[in-house]
Amino acid sequence: MRPAPPRLARRMLDAVLPRSARGDTVRGDLIEEFGARSQVSPVRARRWYWRQTLAIAARSAVGRTVASDPNDPPVNRGSAGLRDLVLVDLRSAAKALIKARGFTIASVVTLALGLGAATAVFSVVEAVLVRPLPFTDPARVMWMTEVFADTGATMSISWPDFLDWGQRLHVYADLAAIRPTTFNLTGGEIAERVEGREVTWTFLHTLGVHPQLGRDFAESDDRVGAAPVALVSDGFWRTHLAADPGAIGQRLTIDGASRTVIGVLPRGFRYNPLANDAVYLPLGATATEDSGLPDRGNHNNVSAVGRLKPGMTEAAARRELADVEAALEREHPDTNATVAGQVTPVTDRLANGVGSVIATLFGAVAVLLLLAAVNVASLAVARSVSRRQELALRAALGCGRRRLVGYLVIENLLIALTGGLAGLAVGDGLVRALVAAAPPNIPRLDEVGLDAGVWLFVLGASIAIAFLIAVLPGLQASTARGQQALVRASRDDLGASSGQRARRSLMVVEVALAVILLTGAGLMARTLRAVTTVDPGFNPTQLLTVRFSIDGDRSTPARVELFNRRIVAFYDQLLPAIEALPGVVATGAAPSLPIDGANWNSVFVVGGQPVPPRALLPSAAFVPATPGLFTTLGIRLKAGRVFRASDRQDAPDVAIVNEQFVRQFLEGRSPVGQRFKQGWPETPNAWREIVGVVNDVKLNGVEQDTPPEVYLPMAQEPASRSALVVRTAGDPAAMLPAVRAVFAKLDPLLPLFDVHSMDDLVNTELARQRLTMLILIGFATLALVLASVGLYGVVSHGVSARTREIGVRLALGASGRQVVSLFVGQGLVTTAIGLATGCAAGFAMARFVEAQGLLFHVTARDPVAFSTAVVTLFLVSIGACYVPARRASRVDPTVTLRGE
């Protein structure tokens, strides 16, 4: 059998050769010769065939089609001619750039740094904000909740309200309710805590997702009394069910009840990118009488998603929900008077508020990119001045203005694309560093990577930069006209002056951009400082926290009573055992921890005051606490007493409040001895007497305002889901095994989760600011380097262009010092204009950052951030100007004058 030429090459030939006998003769020749060459070396023959194909294709690309009939009318001459020109320009540009190595390297490195930073930030933006969620058409899915009508604070949906929504909302094709929960998974080798969600049976259908295995929930699964079933995530299926296709029908023990696995969710499916949902259960099946769900006044952490019908809009959804909520308020004034509905596109909801950080970084990277482009443009102007003669020659030889600009665009495209390519490599490294350094609560960060979108972005940015930096020197060069320019170009200090002007203006822009970045970094650093110096109201060092959740039966009031007694007994055994461990200083328990956030907010009624209307009832964070909690956390008593072991179920009901509570609700009265009642006015709860006041604690995070806080004795308000806090003498983490052992002895099936040291919690809270600040400081440093290099370049170029003038000045008696101050002075004037412009622009930037809510105890006009930026840049530019200026003072006047 004869060897056949490479297929791809043959196809290529077929495409470029005419389909005629003439074309066929060339095809035949190549096949014949390929055959002959294959006898000697098949590899070389293939290579030869490829080479010939490419040569023929290249020719036809520039309009010299091989084997075309000379009698045919010329095809496409115009564009072929243009392509020809582009090829010529490309070659000559590549040669010119290789020759001007220093310029090329400086430009490419500058662009690589700028584009690299841009690439990294763009990748993050793309993955976190832009990339669609793993649902069908996520833009059509709305997220809903109920909020306090007056403050807009989220209260979650009451279950009966949701059921009414299902009947009355017509904008949605599908509607589902969701409640995030954690479950105790037992029955395996170890008891563990898994994240999951309770959802109505329409959930997957609403999102447009189908199980990869088994079936979806059916309506019959979602009723009280239905056979207990569960859907599991792909990850859970792999880790817990051995990725066994036969896992459908298997049983799991979840919160003490046995459930049948009916389906496995598709790989990559996550409803909330932050969560690691393992198990989904039917929500409707849990809505028993005693679950609290059927009570319209209860808002039990339920939210909803709905898929808009075709043609329906977000605005229509808002209107309809407002109407339905208004109707519900009329029908149920007792429970719905203070409630309003809220609609958010699910994509906004799930981006988790990191949008503002990322928008700021995006702005910063745009500034940095612009700065890099300006720097390269400045280099290009300098180069165009020194190659004035070459460009003038081109113009003199009849190269038109357009052609000249075209050539410069090609040259700059080469630079920009090379810079872009190098930038991708830099960006890849930065992305890895960013992902490694990022705080844990940025959604989908694990999906960040350089993909096609990023490549397109870099390509687009490179092309834009190429045009930007081509236009300035291009226009300038093309103003040089023919012979006149040739003559002028030979007197190079004359030609240089207009280039100097252009570079000066670019430097003003560059300094201004650097001011913006430096100020931004300064503001973030000041914010971080302010945040870290806030008094959190407790001492976070050497604290170990562990969460647990006790299962129990609450189906009848009698059983609730029984369960509560069991909980109190559990604490009575747990706390002394922990306290007895060597290395433990103090211990306590509470369901809500500082920084971590309040888990129970409630309205209350203050005694001895007129009861306001429901909508105006005061509310506070309620925290059941064991007596030891205050000393353990280091919360200071301001008045009265802390809890005692005697504050039990049968003793008088008492409470401790914080100073904020006193300021807000008991102004002008002595707080100790005042009475209040948790809940609605008609709720049959006991009146409690305030026995103590403690200092404010940053319950909801360092940056958040301290809420009014109420502590209740754990024995009077037992919490089944709680956290144990242990103050240790040494490293908190080292205490964990002993703590675990105590729990295991009390209840071997009780899983522990969310193990932290309190310092970790605080640090996680600050991680966002810290990362933003680090990135901005990185950008600012880069900006400082670029600006000073640019300034150095301009001044030193000015010095070498004016050597003759300096010679004359020195010959006429000017001192070296005077020459130095001349150049430094000129450089600093440029800097000063840039600084002034930059401060104005920086202020606008600071207002933007402030509006994003990223500043804390620092205003947009923060004098420290601005003056630091200005002084730093000013000092750096003195240095950048002084070095070349000193060189000017060393000019030997006799040498320069002899040159005349």
Binding site: R27, G28, D29, I31, V66, P70
Partner: protein, 112 residues
């Protein structure tokens, strides 16, 4: 009418190869002859472009001949030099010879 422009060097070599190859003067043969005797590697793209140009100047003509199995039954072009082509190559050769007169000792290959 005479040819407007003198022949280029590569054009001369191609014409000489056709004259020498006679009935075998098709693309493959011409390419091989140039590579063997003129001692240069020839891009087929350049070769066919040159042949097309010589044709449009009226210096060569060709006829189609059927091709065998070795070339997938694709036809071949067999070239011949026209009278005008012969005149052009003669004129180039004369000019070359005139200019070389008296330089034999210098032009003579010292090696072989």
């Amino acid at each position: 009418m005479t040819t407007a422009r003198p022949l280029g060097e590569f054009e001369q070599l191609v014409l000489l190869a056709i004259l020498r190859l006679q009935a075998d003067a098709h693309g493959v043969g011409i390419g091989r002859a140039l590579e063997a005797d003129a001692g240069r590697s020839v891009s087929r793209g350049a070769l066919y472009t040159t042949l097309d140009r010589l044709e449009s100047k009226g210096l060569v003509r060709w006829r189609l001949a059927t091709g065998g199995e070795e070339r997938a039954r694709l036809p071949r072009r067999v070239y011949a030099v026209t009278a005008r082509g012969l005149a052009a190559i003669r004129s180039s050769h004369r000019a070359f010879a005139r200019m070389s007169r008296g330089l034999a000792s210098i032009l003579k290959d010292s090696g072989a």
